[in-house]
Assembly symmetry: C2
Homo-oligomer: 140 residues x 2
DNA sequence: TGCTAATTGAGAATCATTATTATTTAATAC
DNA sequence: GTATTAAATAATAATGATTCTCAATTAGCA
């Protein structure tokens, strides 16, 4: 694990964006959170650190972080967005019952992506691979 | 190309659901439409055939068709849902600028899915593979 | 040809997200 | 350090895609 701050600060500088406590805190929160939280979850959790932050700022910040490419926004089937700081090529395993999301990574995926992106060609700007499977809690 | 009606009617019977003109028309429309239309697009296009249909019925019908597995709902990044009658394993190539969606299918994808679903194991209920790439119209 | 539960149509309600705007603040220059 | 200023934030209102409600209609069946 590395200090996420340095990377974020460098990218913000490069893009001419300000380094704010809100941006640092939300990015740090996501970088240490595997659960692909919703904006609402980020808001309620981040209030411990930044008690006066507003929902609007959370949405705006998440959108900014997605724009600069350090997180990914995933619209899921319950109508909400979930936020993922894992920017490597991977599979999101989504429980169709409770919308729990976990990452699955393997060599198979890496190889597939190399082959597929070459096959499709052109300027590909991203990808999203989801697999729907009941989580261990829900299958009981 | 085969008659989509027969398949749908048989599944509706199996599930104890009624065969209605609205369900037939919307399913037929999607089966003959590669463009992954939104609910709004389905609504405005289907009014030619069913002038008195309501938006609510379109939403409800699309949801029913997705429930019984004959179409797939894709929430995309503009906040809308798009509907796909291609239920085979494939990649949706989505233009991040105009949200145009086209299907990409290849042996690479089929083989990957066989391998990946075995790797992940358990009762997988579906999958979704998206690739973001500017469409030919937008890259000009 | 009726019966009945499912479906539809019309319109209201919901709710996640976005927009607005006054206030605050990070970054730069002095 | 202090002033300047454009960007960011907080509070709140607005939006809009989707869902809900319920009375009217209809598909499926006896
Ligand atoms: Mn993920
Ligand atoms: Mn498709
Ligand atoms: Zn679950
Ligand atoms: Zn395009």
């Amino acid at each position: 694990m590395h200090q996420p701050d340095e990377e974020l600060v460098s990218i913000l500088h490069k893009k001419g964006l300000k380094v704010t406590p809100q941006r640092l805190a939300i990015f740090r929160y996501l970088a240490n959170n595997e659960s692909h939280p919703s904006a609402e979850k980020v808001y309620s959790d981040i209030k411990g650190e930044l008690p006066t932050i507003s929902q609007g700022t959370v949405y705006k910040t998440l959108s900014t972080l997605a724009d600069i490419g350090v997180i990914t926004e995933l619209k899921i089937n319950n109508g909400q967005s979930r936020y993922d700081s894992n920017t490597s090529v991977h599979v999101n395993v989504i429980c169709p019952r409770c919308n729990n999301i976990t990452d699955y990574q393997s060599e198979t995926i890496i190889k597939f992506w190399k082959k597929l992106s070459k096959e499709i060609g052109g300027k590909i700007s991203g990808q999203r691979f989801d697999v729907y499977k009941e989580c261990s809690t829900c299958e009981k």
